[in-house]
């Protein structure tokens, strides 16, 4: 199974190794691992809403809870991987996204892509992450000393996803 949505942690090294196990045509594996950051001060300052930190305050994230839309999440990730396969010449793809309560330093997401050459592996990996950020139904809620706060979507993520479709 190339896509997993799970509460448990993953072994990125083992997942990457598995993409080339038993085959000799893989020349490149590109991977991305996303982690929970403790300090989200910048985002907290610019966000609107009563639960945000005020200007100049620093909101340290004590923990984070990932919610998702079971059923749609898997379909959305499969569609994103299928789109990547149509754009680049890639072999195996592994996507793991964790849900539930995570602590700073915990791994959230893995995207790993195997290909013959680095260009397709790098591009497909970045594409899948950019699309995941804007199209897969996950939501982050941060726990800070000031209370819980849903993370605001970022325009920069929309721009990152949009650049794959230049007009």
């Amino acid at each position: 199974m190339s896509i997993s949505v799970q509460e448990v942690d993953f072994d990125a090294g083992a997942e990457i190794a598995a993409l080339s196990t038993g085959r000799d045509d893989v020349g490149a594996v590109a991977s991305f691992v996303g982690l929970v950051r403790a300090d989200k001060a910048t985002e907290a300052k610019v966000s609107a809403g009563t639960q945000s930190a005020g200007a100049g305050e620093t909101a340290f994230v004590a923990a984070m809870t990932l919610e998702h839309y079971p059923g749609m999440t898997e379909k959305a990730l499969e569609a994103i991987v299928a789109e990547a396969r149509g754009r680049w010449d890639i072999f195996g793809v592994r996507v793991i996204h964790r849900v539930g309560r995570l602590l700073p330093g915990d791994r959230i997401v893995l995207v790993a892509v195997a290909s013959s050459h680095r260009h397709d592996a790098f591009a497909a990996c970045e594409f899948i992450m950019d699309y995941l950020k804007t199209r897969a139904p996950f939501w982050k809620k941060e726990e800070t000393p000031g209370g819980g706060r849903w993370v605001d979507a970022r325009e920069s993520d929309d721009h990152a996803a949009g650049r794959w479709n230049p007009d």
């Binding site: 996204h97 950020k133 804007t134 982050k140 809620k141 993370v151 605001d152 979507a153």
Partner: protein, 84 residues
């Protein structure tokens, strides 16, 4: 046949409910019209009208508010996604 409606994240918390099932009201043919009819219930349902950049899905596919909705569909409303 009923329409199953799901709510997620901050919207689910604001409404105090994660899902409901209802008969599609007469004259409601789009996701946006369904959203408006729910929001018209008053507090806390107006959150459906005030959520910034509200997103919707029909049968687990992201759609625009002008997308059609019919009996038997699963419709979801949620804020912009923030995974990864």
């Amino acid at each position: 046949m009923n329409v199953k409606i799901l709510f997620f994240a901050g919207l689910r918390e604001a409404l105090g409910v994660g899902s409901e099932s209802l008969d599609l009201p007469a004259g409601i043919a789009t996701v946006g019209a369904l959203r408006d009819s729910l929001a018209a219930r008053g507090e806390p349902w107006s959150a459906l009208a005030t959520t910034k950049n509200l997103r919707a899905a029909v049968n687990q596919q992201m759609v625009g508010l002008d997308a059609p909705v019919k009996p038997g569909d699963e419709v979801a409303f949620f804020p912009p996604v923030t995974g990864g």
